[in-house]
């Protein structure tokens, strides 16, 4: 599936490895379960590591460990399942994660902007998605009530030129 990062297509430099499959050399993404079971071995690898969070898995499970991951993947099994939005926010704000957060799974164009605002920076998109649609989707709203994990100033900041309440 194509990946979009910084409004451009980007190559996926990571390989997903299923639980139980042998780990190849190079960049891999493993499940949270595997990370928890094989942590000691995984941290010694000398290639960038990624972990995948399912929608019923809490980002808190990565507390204290986020610096080990170049990529954290958040799965949206069904677009209506909005738990991943909280996962992204917790990763950015509470766990101070500065690496790449990828949204994968059943993600609608109309959710990209909110995901970005929650701290997602890479999007798995449907084949045939056009960059211009991506850019215009992200430009559909330019004023925001809430300060969030993206760089937009909130309406409150515009009003008072000060730290926003939300």
């Amino acid at each position: 599936m194509p990946l979009i990062k910084n409004a451009a297509f980007t190559e996926n430099q990571f390989v997903h490895v299923a639980d139980g499959e042998a780990l190849p050399q190079g960049n891999v993404i493993v499940s949270l379960k595997r990370w928890q079971a094989e942590r000691a071995g995984l941290v010694t690898r000398n290639a960038p590591l990624g972990v995948r969070l399912n929608s019923d898995q809490s980002a808190e499970a990565l507390a204290g460990d986020v610096h080990h991951f170049a990529v954290i993947e958040i799965d949206f099994p069904k677009f209506r399942d909005g738990r991943g939005f909280s996962s992204a926010r917790v990763l950015r704000q509470r766990l101070a994660y500065t690496g790449e957060i990828r949204a994968v799974g059943d993600v609608l164009r109309d959710q990209w902007l909110f995901m970005k605002r929650c701290g997602v920076d890479v999007f798995e998109v449907r084949p045939g998605t056009r960059l211009e649609d991506f850019r215009s989707a992200l430009a559909e709203q330019t004023v925001f009530y809430q300060r969030s994990s993206d760089l937009h100033r909130s309406i409150f900041e515009h009003r008072h030129a000060a730290t926003p309440p939300y």
Binding site: G82, Q93, C118, T142, Y145, Q146, I155, H158, R159, T163
Partner: protein, 547 residues
């Protein structure tokens, strides 16, 4: 009332453009119905029995005359000349065309209105006290805080795909006119010992399939922490509310399952984290900015003098539909949308225009919508009451039944709604007609009768003193009656009396119940009080012995 600044306006204007794009993508086939549905729901657009239905947001039930006139205009231009005021202080149009909805939203945006988040699994309209700013018993105008919550919850990037819908209500008076205890989050604003505002946050109330009263989860939350506390509560819900079963997905189920103490603990942990980030501290400068919009209008200095009259009809209306105002010389008028035998909560475009004019002339340009489906003119001078009544009466809006048995709350039911199992409006009409006699209604006194056409309880039947739930029994409409529900500060869920009644038998059944009340009541007792004192047995026995 609140006025948009350039940022509020831009937010709404951008949404109109965004939704117009989504409609175009739907009509071109780029979006399937399954993909379009959550998007149209987030803009208040349903597909109902006969047509689409558009639910317009009326934040905390407050409208200017200009806005009400626009609602009338839209009814004339795009719909069938009428609209319906709902139990969440919103307005519904029953016949818009999909292709017209972008234009309707654009028209609404010109008067600072929208249909944002009036449906879908997101935070819905924040509702409040329809007597706000006028009643002597409030400690602050709850609409200030409703507006702050509205802004924080609008287009919230984290909480737009919740397990289920989320409803917040706010009251600031010891008498709860906003039914906060049967909301997902209900807030009571009071003053602590030092006279500082304190926010008690109740979580997990709700009606529907599993009616539950909310539990106090946050006690005396200070104003500057209110949004952080709400954010924490929402995050716990978003993460742990059930996603596998839509009938068990509300926050009330989560609270019921883990218990109030555990909920309190989890929210407290999250709240501490949110506070540590500092981002949600609500500064006084923003509170003051919004509070300024809800400052009292320029009341004149008048003496308290209720009109005396020889006009019997005016006298009855005065006694019943006019409530005491905190300022001498003023009064709070309830405009009844419950004409005898009529459709509860419906208003014609002409009636909306009439009320808008009255608001402009007599009530500082402001109208309220109550969750009991009436309108309110909150600041009418006592000496204008006769004039107001005459004009309301001419427009069919002066039925003197506020809070009485014919002031019925009813959902649209099977006549309109895709979810319904039975009709509700016809039952309301039959009961209203049966009890039309004014003297009899006053003899019965306060009686909140609420009717829902299905278990989703949009008619709020669970908190009716008498509640009626329409059910489908082998293809025939039947009506289950409950007693003793209440949405006020002593909230309670109604108790089922027994087997359901056929449509034709409902008015007689209500008569029987009233008969028991008359037989049992002590002086000064309302129906609800008598029920609470004697219990359900006398009512049940007589009802099923007779029918």
């Amino acid at each position: 009332m609140y006025r948009y600044d350039e940022f509020d306006q831009k937010a709404v204007d951008e949404r109109v453009v965004q939704f117009s794009g989504q409609v175009a993508r739907r009509l071109s086939g780029e979006l399937t119905e399954d993909e379009f549905k959550p998007l149209r729901l987030m803009n208040g657009l349903y597909l109902q029995l006969h047509a689409y239905m558009l639910r317009v947001a009326i934040p905390y039930g407050t409208l200017s005359s200009k806005q009400l006139r626009m609602l009338a205009h839209i009814a004339r231009k795009y719909d069938k000349d009428y609209a319906h005021f709902t139990t969440r202080q919103n307005l519904q149009y029953n016949w818009p065309k999909l292709a017209d909805v972008p234009a309707i939203l654009a028209d609404l945006a010109t008067v600072e209105m929208h249909a944002i988040q009036t449906s879908g699994n997101c935070i819905r309209n924040v509702t409040s006290d329809h007597f706000a700013g006028a009643s002597a018993d409030e400690v602050d105008d709850p609409r200030i805080w409703s507006e702050i919550i509205r802004q924080w919850s609008t287009f919230h990037p984290e909480f737009s795909y919740l397990p289920r819908k989320f409803k917040i209500a706010v009251t600031a008076a010891p008498r709860d006119r906003a039914a906060i205890k049967v909301h997902d989050i209900g807030i009571i604003i009071r003053r602590d010992a030092a006279e500082v505002l304190a926010f008690d946050v109740y979580v997990g109330g709700g009606q529907g399939r599993t009616p539950l009263i909310g539990h106090m989860i946050g006690e005396a939350v200070p104003a500057e922490d209110l949004l952080a506390y709400l954010e924490a509560t929402m995050r716990v819900y978003n993460q742990y509310g059930r996603r596998d079963n839509i009938y068990k997905a509300r926050i009330k189920i989560l609270v019921h399952q883990i218990g109030a103490d555990e909920m309190r603990r989890q929210v407290a942990v999250e709240f501490a984290e949110v506070k540590a980030q500092g981002a949600l501290a609500l500064p006084q400068v923003e509170i003051d900015r919004i509070a300024a919009y809800f400052a009292s209008p320029a009341f004149e200095t008048l003496k308290d003098k209720s009109p005396t009259t020889a006009n019997h009809a005016f006298g009855v209306w005065l006694e019943n539909n006019v409530a005491k105002h905190k300022v001498p010389g003023y009064a709070i008028v309830t405009v009844s949308l419950k004409p005898i035998g009529g459709i509860p909560g419906d208003a014609s475009a002409a009636q909306m225009d009439m009320v808008a004019s009255l608001a402009e002339t007599y009530s500082f340009d402001e109208v309220r919508v109550s969750h009991e489906q009436n309108l309110v003119l909150a600041h009418v001078r006592q000496r204008d009451l006769l004039s107001v009544w005459q004009q309301l009466d001419a427009a069919g809006l002066a039925t003197a039944n506020y809070g009485l048995i014919t002031d019925i709350i009813a959902c649209p039911g099977l006549d309109y709604c895709d979810l319904a199992n039975a009709r509700s409006i016809n039952i309301a009409q039959a009961i209203s007609t049966r009890f039309a006699n004014q003297d009899r209604q006053r003899e019965i006194g306060e009686l909140k009768l609420k009717i829902s056409g299905c278990i989703n309880a949009c008619g709020h039947h669970h908190v009716g003193h008498i509640g009626i739930l329409g059910v489908d029994k082998k293809g025939v409409e039947f009506y289950q009656i409950t007693l003793g529900g209440s949405g006020d500060e002593n909230a309670s869920v109604g108790e089922i009396l027994g087997p359901a009644f056929g449509e034709a038998d409902v008015p007689d059944a209500i008569e029987t119940l009233i008969g028991v009340y008359f037989a049992q009541r002590s002086p000064g007792e309302r129906f609800l009080d008598t029920y609470r004192r004697v219990g359900i047995q006398p009512f049940r026995e007589k009802l099923y012995a007779t029918h």
